[in-house]
């Protein structure tokens, strides 16, 4: 194994006309992730490099970047997999770049509450008055979708979101599904009202890349297609049944 690997990192300072690429040689160690490489650059080569990171264990969802063109959590992506290099490290696609590898995810933060990703009940009683029991099978129904860490890799991988930024997007829909499948929840109808719109589930053309890049194996594409079936059923019922029967 070579001693070092070249990292080709996107640089952008607010006010620049376009981002540029800068090359850095970093030590190539078997246990070094791409994030370790970036930390090396910041500590030893160029302290002005900006990027987000926190936990280094694939749970905070901060360090998502495009590595060799594919959205990845850089803390879980190893430099040695890209040897001999150079390895391209770019900001997540489909988001405006704030600086270097930092992107602006405000759009997602505005969209997420629209699908009401929390348990909705109209007969709320506190846990002192009542237990909300759930069997292991019922937990299993939504557990996969609750693993989402909002890392935005799915949005970066989704060409639909890139072409139509109004699309509510994979993670938001997967999180809506997470609460819909929860037996304690009663908010299905409210969420469907948002997701049945064109910018909701129908924007999705089932490219499936969101599921492929998800580091937590959430399968947003599956959630969206299941919603489409639901939304289609709802439309047929609305057509067949008289007003107010639903």
């Amino acid at each position: 194994m070579a001693d070092s690997i070249q990292m080709r990192v996107t640089r952008y300072t607010p006010g620049d006309s376009a981002p540029t690429a800068a090359d850095y040689d970093v030590p190539l160690r078997k246990d070094w992730s791409v994030l370790d490489g970036l930390n090396y650059v910041k500590d030893n080569l160029d302290g002005s490099l900006s990027y987000r990171w926190s936990c280094r264990m694939g749970i905070c969802g901060s360090c998502g970047m495009n590595v060799q063109g594919t959205p990845k959590l850089t803390c879980g992506t190893f430099l040695s997999d890209y040897a001999p290099g150079p390895v391209r490290v770019e900001p997540l696609t489909n988001f405006p770049i704030v600086r270097d590898l930092v992107v602006d995810i405000d759009d997602f933060m505005e969209k997420l509450p629209k699908v009401k990703p929390w348990i909705i009940r109209n007969d709320d009683q506190s846990v002192i008055d009542r237990e909300y029991l759930q069997t292991p099978e019922e937990l299993e129904e939504y557990k996969q979708f609750s693993n989402c860490i909002n890392c935005m890799l799915c949005y970066a991988a989704c060409p639909v979101y890139g072409l139509d930024p109004d699309f509510i997007g994979p993670a938001a829909i997967a999180l809506a599904e997470r609460y819909d499948l929860d037996t304690r929840d009663r908010g299905r109808r409210e969420r469907l009202d948002v997701l049945i719109e064109r910018e909701g589930v129908w924007g999705c053309t089932f490219v499936g890349e969101c599921t492929r890049v998800c580091p937590k194996h959430v399968d947003p594409a599956g959630a969206i297609q299941r919603y489409k079936l639901e939304a289609a059923k709802e439309s047929v019922m609305a057509f067949l049944l008289p007003r107010g029967a639903l």
Partner: protein
Amino acid sequence: MSAPTTYRQPVSRLWWTKKWTYFLFMMREFTCVFVAWSVVFLLMLVYAVGRGEASYRQFLDWASSPVVVVVNVVALAFLVLHTVTWFALTPQAAVVRAGGRQVVRTRMVHVGGRILPAATVIRVGGRVPAAIVIASQYVGLVVVSAFIAWLVLR
């Protein structure tokens, strides 16, 4: 303080050539053209048959011309791609369950301003593995094809 200037990354018109999975997706979308062609071809065949033997023979002559044969071979390849890719995607979209028990739940719902009880049947059972869902579609395809073959050839 004014908002910082951000750079919006443009999406290339050729985004679908950048990655094999994007390309395969585009090809899958493109298959709809050949599905439509196959429907038109079939309707033309039915129409020709309906108009008598001479018309049918004329259709067969046209259908065996090199251009139509090439178009149909390409169409067949795209139809196979269409079938294989959509069958492979079905388990993601459709949750099929087998076995397990059924639980009937009653809850109150608002209907036209009144509150009425509504029963929901919840099936708690194992999800059928993806491979079985996919395989069952191929079995269905074979059964339907055999039935049509029997209908036409008997």
